[in-house]
Symmetry: C2
Amino acid sequence: MTAEQRILDAALKVFASEGYTGATTRRIAEEANVAEVTLFRKFQSKENLLREVLLQNRDAFSTLENLFQIKEDLDLETDLHILGKNIAKVMKDKKNDGKRHMFMFMLFEEGRRRPEVAEILSSFIQMNITRLSEYFELQIKNGKMRNINPRSAALTFVSYFVYTSLLRGVFGDSFLGDSDEEIERFIDIFTKGILKVEDMKTR
Amino acid sequence: MTAEQRILDAALKVFASEGYTGATTRRIAEEANVAEVTLFRKFQSKENLLREVLLQNRDAFSTLENLFQIKEDLDLETDLHILGKNIAKVMKDKKNDGKRHMFMFMLFEEGRRRPEVAEILSSFIQMNITRLSEYFELQIKNGKMRNINPRSAALTFVSYFVYTSLLRGVFGDSFLGDSDEEIERFIDIFTKGILKVEDMKTR
DNA sequence: ATCGGAAGTAAGTAATTACTTACATATGAA
DNA sequence: TTCATATGTAAGTAATTACTTACTTCCGAT
């Protein structure tokens, strides 16, 4: 692996665990096994390094796209199970020992100060919500789903995954129970609601 | 207002917007309209100041308890509407121009480095989820809710509010639509699910 | 009027940090 | 070999930051 790539990986990792302000170029260089001066020769400044990590991972995140390519022949519930488990998997493992979702949360913090960061993050979130919305819209047209606002459904769906992965990242996996079981329970609620059928009034 | 309290308020505000590492004692003192040395005389160190802010706001947050005191005579959906809107209100306004939820997110970051912070945060989250769980358990016993895992229901419920308030905090209120309308749509999904009634298989 | 405590002013210290400069070494292509 | 390029070592700079010390001012209670 090239020095450049090692620095980018190290930066992702250190930014994720220390935050942008908390991460020092020394620590990043150390983690990448390069001299600190090499980092500056290749990336000029810490700010620019963040930008490069962002660009590289914007594409990496976009492979989430694949997760949204759901076969239409399966039923909605099965689709969501597969999708949910894939999202959880992508957020967790990958390289950088699952630091990627922690990197994302660091972006939330940093986004409030750097408009460029906010913009990239926002476009990424919008993209995913929109893609999911379109899927729901299709399901509604196919008569497989109630006629509800598809964006609200998408927002509800991703809320769960973002929040649980935040909790797991901060407090460890023991904080919540087994991931797969939890997801199944969530999808049960998401698809069927918490009410008893006979109590549902307006549908 | 005493100098001590002004410093605590200022600290909450600056910690929330700059993060713990990013916040400087100078900025906090400035925001509180006191000399920097006064801050140190009263709180000894920045770390200790964070601890004090935390302690004070742990109690303030706990007034969320009131939001969970739901009258049993109303029906579940009405309860949730009221609860949801109250949560949204508490997260937003209050004093410190709605910085309080941003302070909470800063705690998530800081919690990964400081076990004491993680513990306070974790106990706060657990407390709220437990309280909500108990409410759901009661509703299940009263036959008003399907027999689902109450903790999962609680987790699903709070996920939505935490995530949307994070999005509003970072990207502004325009990122999502009107808060009340959004909440209504969420509760519709949460209570009734997205599926059509006739498609629900196992209940 | 005076005395004590809370607050301010001013200056400084030691550490850290992003970033630079100057020079040396290694390596692979010509 | 030679030479360009990539990388390392070492030292330093200017700014920032948490925190301290010494002295002064303000103010309410006695």
